[in-house]
């Protein structure tokens, strides 16, 4: 391996990694938020909306991210949706991730014992407060491992943004390898950065999990 190419390409790769982290973070936050709204709408909305969202979930989960991104970026302009690469990438990640997060939240809601919701109703607490103060916190605690897990999966989906020219890490390493023919080094760098990112997320996730469950489980 010839790591000296990294001297020349280092700053570019770092910038690429920065964009990768940004895309991952923004994509995760946005798709999680959209997923939560979907799950809440399915739980509290009218039945027709539930069906519509069910269909959305199935379609998005049933198609590859690559295809979705192509349709959005290259097909979007045909219907007047003209986006730059980065916003298109973030929108794509949001759409792609939201159904998975919606399902995670749905099962999190299901894990909250119905009696605890009934107890709140019996006290006369209004439904929005029940959601905010009781349903959501408890659902989040039980869904946390799955949320972290899917966030980790999303880190690696960001590489697909390179095909619509978002200058993230994959895009930069590909550029480096086509310019220098250093494929091995390029992939080494790619793997190393992703491993570091994933390791950090899963550590943070475990810390958070220990923190939020400390009162709930007997110990």
């Amino acid at each position: 391996m010839e790591l000296s190419v990294l001297q020349q390409y280092g700053p570019m790769l770092l910038r690429g990694f920065g964009i990768t982290v940004f895309c991952w973070l923004a994509g995760t936050v946005l798709s999680m938020a959209l997923g939560l709204m979907i799950a809440l709408a399915q739980r509290y909305g009218p039945r027709w909306l539930n069906w519509l969202l069910r269909a959305y979930i199935e379609v998005i989960r049933g198609t590859p991210f690559l295809v979705q991104l192509f349709v959005l970026y290259y097909g979007g302009p045909l219907v007047g949706l003209r986006l730059d690469a980065l916003p298109a990438g973030l929108l794509g990640l949001t759409v792609y991730g939201s159904p998975y997060f919606a399902e995670i939240f749905r099962s999190g809601f299901g894990a909250v014992p119905h009696g605890q919701i009934e107890a709140a109703r019996a006290v006369g607490i209004p439904e929005p407060s029940i959601v905010r103060r009781i349903l959501l916190p408890l659902a989040l605690v039980s869904a946390l491992p799955a949320l972290v897990n899917f966030s980790i999966i999303l880190t690696k989906e960001t590489v697909i943004l390179s095909i619509i020219t978002v200058p993230e890490l994959m895009y930069q390493t590909q550029r480096m390898s086509t310019e220098t023919f250093r494929y091995l080094e390029a992939n080494f760098v790619l793997a190393l950065f992703f491993w570091g990112l994933v390791e950090t997320i899963s550590r943070l996730g475990r810390r958070l999990e220990a923190r939020v469950t400390r009162h709930i489980e007997r110990g």
């Binding site: 014992p113 009696g115 605890q116 009934e118 107890a119 709140a120 109703r121 019996a122 006290v123 006369g124 607490i125 209004p126 439904e127 407060s129 103060r133 009781i134 916190p137 408890l138 605690v141 009162h215 709930i216 489980e217 007997r218 110990g219």
Partner: protein, 260 residues
């Protein structure tokens, strides 16, 4: 204490699909008295109790809390608004078999939550009243504990404090001691007796025949969704006229008798 309320149920019917869980149940719950609901498993005791605060929707009949219809705008009419239902529920405390405390909140927060969200009290005032309610059930020193750090008996007493802090006019109990280890039953029953002595209207679904016999003012016996009889403990326990009650008590005594 705020004025104790009466509960009047008239010809209550309740269906789960084709299955009829309550058949024409009529029962008067006098104010300031303890009424125990007894009967075999599956007879509809919980269903009836849960209809009183409309956690369960009754299909026909009327339930009135101090004369005010709960659940519907008019008998057999439209469902009442959520806001109106919540207003009525403020007056009706409920205690569940499984406690149903909110596990992410301390004992104090569990009790203060309703005072803040329903009565609209400021945090400090809500916590002061919550502390007083916990003191009353003998848990003034456990306010900072989460439910996981409380025994079953203590959890159930927090649940009672959560209900009485709202200053209800009726209290509903659904087998409040059935999930407890035998040695923890006494502390919960003691709190309930204290409440009864203060003149709270109480409706208690129970398998504790001792409590029903000694604390209840009235006992109602249910079977297969029907109210078979209601009367004083003496009338129900000492010389039950109905064969079904005799059979129930007989099997109860058999289960609870032991030889040394």
């Amino acid at each position: 204490m705020t004025q104790a309320a009466s509960v009047d149920m008239t010809r209550i019917n309740k269906f789960y699909g084709p299955f009829q869980a309550l058949r024409d149940v009529s029962l008067h719950i006098p104010p300031g008295k303890v009424t125990c609901l007894i009967g075999p498993s599956g007879s509809g005791k919980s269903t009836l109790l849960r209809c009183i605060n409309f956690l369960e929707r009754y299909d026909a009949g009327e339930i009135r809390i101090d004369g005010q219809l709960i659940g519907y705008d008019t008998p057999g009419g439209r469902l009442m608004s959520g806001r109106r239902l919540r207003e009525m529920r403020r007056d009706i405390g409920m205690v569940f078999q499984q406690f149903n405390l909110w596990p992410h909140m301390t004992a104090l927060q569990n009790v203060a939550e309703g005072l803040e969200r329903v009565r609209g009290l400021p945090r400090a005032e809500a916590e002061a009243q919550a502390r007083a309610a916990l003191d009353k059930v003998g848990l003034g020193d456990k306010t900072a504990n989460h439910p996981a750090r409380l025994s079953g008996g203590q959890q159930q007493r927090v649940a009672i404090a959560r209900a009485i802090a709202m200053q209800p006019r009726v209290m509903l109990f659904d087998e409040p001691t059935s999930a407890l280890d035998p040695e923890l039953v006494g502390e919960v029953l003691a709190v309930m007796k204290q409440l009864a002595a203060e003149g709270m209207t109480m409706v208690v679904v129970t398998h504790e025949m001792g409590f029903a016999a000694h604390v209840a003012d009235r006992v109602a016996f249910m079977e297969r969704g029907e109210l078979v009889a209601a009367g004083t403990p003496a009338e129900i326990f000492a010389n039950p006229r109905d064969e079904r009650i005799r059979a129930f008590l007989h099997s109860y005594h058999e289960r609870n008798a032991f030889e040394v």
